[in-house]
């Protein structure tokens, strides 16, 4: 039974009604922490993390920035690594939901996937050949054009519902989950596969270094000495279903998607608004649509990239809006997986709610006097029935989902 918002407990000025909960019946994940969700959860609760300079690609940059690669994962040659990550996570999520192809074929199942690189015509070997006046092989470009992650998943499973690839930078995965929930409520589909996927490559690696927001040591979200993010890669997918489908199919709910909110900063291309107004609006909308009060919130899985700006703004907003509620960033275990981050953190959030405990915020040692609150420093038992997962992104996108215990 979900605790409802009591009279007078309105958390925000957003005038939206609560929406129907959407069941999360299956979850899958691949990232540097593990090749599936149970392994990843065990690793992060053990406090394991293994950032290291990239091994899948080379760079002549003099500094070797650590990253979180998904070890020993090889994509088939005809498939984008991003889409291969997505498919890997979907297979786990679908199996976890107890769905088979026949059952999925009888339903109208949508696919909504967030990514940053999965639809970008960015291929270095091809461009080098083009710039050199050669006739570069078109295979990599064709692979991209055939590799839209939502299309790949829909084709692989023969799904007939709506498809959408969301490209709101680092908020993509969170947005994809929230949008898929809206599709189901609106009757566009009976169920949906939603999440995010992103591979790490040289172009992204060099790009973030050029912005001078990467840390040359393991990242330290919310720490006084934080210097930036470490990049990561992977995917996470959730199977979402309407109540009707849940009853009919025999699936069980592991968790619920209760609310979603998003808002723009309208401030800067790459920096968050200093007062966090956009994030405040997103949290307000997510809480209002979930219909739950802040007293029910067990914890917040923060975006927590480890960049000075992000962590300062985000912690200030959490301090103001959800004071005293435990929060953490899991990017110390996975790196920043960009378009996949919101989805990976959503499945971690749901899995933590199930077991009632959250991992330590890896990398945090020294409190920052500019930050009024501190993240959890050890594995912590949490009370409460709901949790928030937040994403902030280039372009000033802020997105939040509220997940509830089954």
């Amino acid at each position: 039974m979900l605790p409802l918002l009591k009279r007078g407990e309105v958390l925000c000025s957003i005038q939206r009604m609560s929406v129907a909960p959407i069941a999360i019946t299956g979850m899958g994940c691949i990232c540097a922490a593990g090749r599936n969700l149970p392994d990843s959860m065990e690793a992060i609760l053990r406090g394991e993390r293994n950032p290291a300079p990239p091994v899948r690609f080379a760079s002549n940059h003099p500094v070797r920035y650590p990253v979180f690669e998904a070890a020993e994962f090889e994509a088939p040659p005809d498939l984008l690594r991003t889409s291969a990550f997505g498919l890997h996570a979907v297979r786990e999520a679908v199996a976890d939901a107890g769905l088979d192809r026949k059952t999925m074929g009888a339903l109208r199942v949508g696919v909504c996937v967030g990514t940053t690189v999965g639809t970008v015509l960015s291929e270095e070997t091809f461009c080098r050949g083009y710039l050199a006046g050669l006739i570069p092989d078109m295979t990599p470009i064709r692979r991209i054009l055939r590799g839209n992650p939502a299309d790949v998943i829909a084709r692989e499973f023969g799904l007939s519902g709506p498809r959408q690839t969301v490209v709101t930078a680092c908020a993509s995965g969170t947005d994809a989950v929230g949008i898929a929930g809206s599709w189901i409520r609106a009757g566009l589909c009976d169920a949906a596969i939603a999440g995010g996927a992103d591979e790490l490559g040289r172009i992204t690696y060099i790009g973030f270094i050029s912005l001078m927001i990467t840390d040359d040591s393991p990242c330290k979200p919310f720490d006084k000495h934080r210097k930036g993010l470490n990049l990561g890669e992977g995917a996470a997918m959730l199977v979402l279903a309407s109540e009707r489908v849940l009853r009919r199919s025999g699936m069980r709910a592991r968790s619920f998607l209760l609310g979603y909110g998003s808002a723009g900063d309208a401030y800067h291309q790459t920096a968050p608004q200093p007062d966090g107004a956009g994030l405040r609006s997103a949290i307000s909308e997510a809480m209002a649509t979930s219909g739950v009060s802040s007293t029910s919130v067990a914890f917040v899985n923060a975006h927590g990239t480890g960049t000075p700006d992000n962590d300062r703004v985000e912690s200030r907003v959490l301090h103001d809006m959800l004071p005293g509620i435990p929060f953490l960033s899991t990017k110390g275990y996975t790196g920043h997986t960009l378009g996949a981050a919101g989805a990976i953190e959503a499945v971690f959030t749901a899995a933590c709610l199930e077991i009632g405990k959250i991992p330590a915020n890896a990398g945090f040692e020294t409190p920052d006097p500019d930050i009024a609150n501190t993240p959890v420093r050890e594995v912590t038992t949490v009370q409460g029935t709901v949790a928030l997962s937040e994403s902030l992104a280039f372009g000033g996108n802020n997105s939040v989902v509220v997940l509830g215990k089954a």
Partner: protein, 370 residues
């Protein structure tokens, strides 16, 4: 989606090969000549000019100071100009802009900046790669510029599903309005013709013909690449102050033919863009329908279906069909009404096909009164 207010297209803005704004689009649709320009493509045998519908964004200076535009690339300029034109067309007061939701659909995103970043990395080395180009290469860069310039702090989304981007994103725009997340959504589709896109197009489909596009002549490849931005200001009926027509439905999916679930419309606007492979699929869908196709006015691009919607909105407002450029061809199994013919019913459906099975279908309705 039952029980929701109707959605109204309050304003239209567009820039493309036809010109800039509703008046240029109307002029082109009415039958004015609309000739493509050229795009210089670097090939192994030197630079080759290919026909292409280019967009002129100089009118953006009517809306923003030149100084503001200095560091804004073509992709985002296209989006900004489309946005301002749609808002001006709808006469939306400035104070209402802060509450807008923004949804952008793009097939390929900011490919000019993507290529520029790669070039900086290749030419100058990993240590000197351009941060400005990298930051501007993300797909949601145009949406960010639009929200910053308009001060729009509502939800903000960018979708990239290649040729299905427009119908896919429109479905989400309808949901935002139905959920009352926002009263209005500024919806836009943007694609730019960068060096990279021009070269890929040249390699995959060869040089476009110099002859006009004839998408209803399905045995020939006649597509000419285009670039531009088409924007629609969408409003819940209760909030709308007038407008062109209603946006009744937008769906995507994959179905074998026959069996597309579109209602019997007065007119079916085809997104056929002169590509021979998809031309046959369009012919199969259009069997015995009344059809029109306006892609020869703006060219072939993933953002094209948004221009189709803009044309359909103008038709529904005026009540008369615009002529299909190039007219009918004998082997095309549908009726192609002449310019000036009545729409014939209260609805227009716009259809986009991609690949072997994907479809996007958007239905617009006549706006009787508000």
């Amino acid at each position: 989606m039952s029980g929701m207010d109707r959605i109204v297209i309050e304003g239209v803005g567009g820039v493309g090969g036809f010109g800039c704004g509703v008046s240029d689009l109307t002029r082109a649709l009415t039958g004015s000549a609309c000739s493509p320009g050229t795009l210089a493509v670097s090939t192994e045998s030197g630079t080759v000019p290919i026909p292409a519908f280019r967009a002129d964004v100089s009118r953006l200076e009517e809306f923003l100071p030149v100084r503001t535009l200095r560091r804004i690339d073509l992709f985002s300029r296209l989006g900004l100009l489309g946005s301002y034109l749609a808002l001006a067309d709808a006469n939306l007061p400035d104070e209402e802009r802060t509450r807008l939701g923004i949804i952008i659909a793009s097939g390929y995103g900011a490919t000019g900046m993507t290529y520029a970043f790669l070039k900086s990395l290749i030419d100058d080395g990993d240590i000197c790669a351009s941060p400005t180009c990298f930051a501007s290469s993300v797909h949601n860069s145009a949406a960010a510029h639009i929200s910053i310039q308009l001060g729009a702090k509502g939800p903000n989304l960018t979708v990239s599903d290649y040729h299905m981007s427009v119908p896919s994103a429109l479905a989400t725009a309808r949901i935002w309005l139905a959920e009352e997340r926002v009263q209005r959504v500024l919806f836009g589709a943007i694609d730019e013709l960068s060096d990279l896109i021009g070269y890929i197009r040249y390699r995959t489909r060869g040089a476009p013909p110099a002859a006009p596009m004839t998408p209803l002549r399905t045995e020939m490849e006649t597509s000419i690449p285009g670039e531009g931005a088409a924007f629609l200001l969408l409003a819940r009926e209760g909030a709308a102050r007038g407008g062109y027509c209603t946006l009744d439905a937008s769906t995507t999916g994959s179905l074998p033919f026959p069996g597309l679930p579109f209602p019997e419309p007065g007119l079916l606007v085809l997104g056929a863009d002169g590509c021979r492979a998809s031309g046959r699929r369009y012919a199969a869908v259009a069997q015995n329908a009344r059809v029109a196709c306006y892609t020869p006015l703006y060219g072939s691009m993933p953002a094209g279906p948004a221009f189709d919607l803009a044309a359909a909105a103008l038709i529904l407002k005026g009540g008369r069909v615009f002529p299909t450029p190039g007219g009918a061809f004998l082997d095309f199994p549908a009726t192609v009404p002449a310019g000036g013919d009545p729409v014939g019913a209260d609805r227009i459906a716009c259809i986009t096909l991609a690949g072997n099975e994907a479809y996007g279908l958007t239905t617009l309705g006549r706006l009787n009164s508000l």
